[in-house]
Amino acid sequence: MKLNRQTRSALFAMLGYTAALQLMLSAAILYWPAFRENTGALKVLAGPIPMLKDMIVQLEDKGSVAYVLSQHFFKGCNVLGVAAATLFAVGAVAGEAHRGTLEIFLMRPVTRRRLLTERFVSGALQVIVPIFLTTLTIPLLLARVDEVGSLGRYLLAGVHQSLFLLCLYALAFFLSTMGRTPLKLAFGVLIFAIFNFSMYMVKTVTHYSLFRLADIQTFLDVYEKGPNWGLWAIFAGTIALLFGASLFVFERRVP
């Protein structure tokens, strides 16, 4: 199958994001024995930041499972995933408007619903496929440091992470259907995400942060107790609502 340059460039972006996630995950797991040795010292160092100290206590109590969940999902996917979700979404429509190609994008004999759905799905796959690909390597990496873990449960955590990121992706995508400058949109969404992450680290306002929905405790709950169906339904509803709003706007958009 011959891929055109646009598809190849999307695949390269996804591969880059996968490689970065994999590097972070591999380094973190291989560092686990040293981390375990030094949790006491790390707790002292994290003393001035109560939220950080709480995290280290959690890691100390729950061992490698909490450590992997924190390193791969809470740190790796939340940071890189948010950036990827934003960047893959903002160009979907605003990118076309910015480069002036929205008219040729819309003039082919294809419904706008289909055009937008294809864009949404391909971007969403770019965001979540790397999460699952890298999660699949966790048991192999854990074996290198004489630890074990349930792949199925890590994959459930991956589902939770994907739904959380897709909410942000759907928000950025919706803004893209209305906007003309992807860079401005990306800045706006990333500042919103960074602000939420900062709030998470402040004990008095941490409960208002969106990252409470994708923190170590949440991932531990999914790992230990199984899917959080209520929260997953809210995530899925938010994604559907934002996609529906995107469709409504896009159907009426003037090139």
Partner: protein, 314 residues
Amino acid sequence: MDIETSTSLAIEAHGLSRSFGDVRAVDGIDLAVASGSVTGVLGPNGSGKSTFLRLLIGLVRPDGGSATIAGAKLRGDGVAVRKRVTFAPGEIALYGELSAAEQLEWLLRGRSHKALLHAHAVADRLGLPMAKRVHEFSHGMKRQLLFAAAMGPDVSVRILDEPTEGLDPAKRSCVLELIAEEAARGTTILLSSHHLSEVEQVCDRLVFFFKGKLLADEDPAELRRLAAKSARFEYATEAAATAAAALLKTAPAVANVHQDRHVLRLELDGVANPLALLEGLTASLQDLEPPVNLELGRLSLTDLYERVYGVRGL
């Protein structure tokens, strides 16, 4: 049901309107285009012709009115129309990272393989280097690539927004020739331009837009008759034009002289041999500063709007 049985009219628009904020870009256009005809949509920049064409293929939703194109009613996002009609946009923006061949394939997504082959044949005839990336293409080459894509599919109606704009004379002739060949096959063509002399060569009907409204509907033959009675003298200075105007006003067979700074527009009356008349006129001006440019038998869109429709300051 989006599709209706076809009639002898390829395009029917009733009260088609669209506003952008306070600006009424298209204001209640009624237009019926017969199957197999070539209709030119003319007007100055901002007259609403491009918006009208975009309305017809569903790129822009109308605020009011209705339209049926190639038997398909304009509804929703207009996909039923776009399946039966091709469009070459006036705005030129393509994916620079693609090769011309890839871009053509991308533009013809949803069309048959035969359409792609035909579009390649048109591109070859225009001499486009299909292996080159689009970012290496000039503005005119990009326009030709969009034109080739619009000529590819086997449809009964083609809508072309300024297909010759920015092309060199040779390519312009080639595009007009391809349009004429397509018309000879019975395809309905609606094309826009703001160059009267170009479209009157291939069109059998001309409609004129101004401020979103349909100002006039003309037979090109009538305009050619009108053009034959027109002359334009361009001088280096306004003073030279004024001096010439004083003489020309008294010349025989000159019905009217209109001066616009250093340009004189003459309306000739009852001219049997315009060239001989022109020679006579230039001879009578031999003591004055000669014109830097002289045209006979050509009517610009500005001239037409000013002289015939009374619209000034275009």
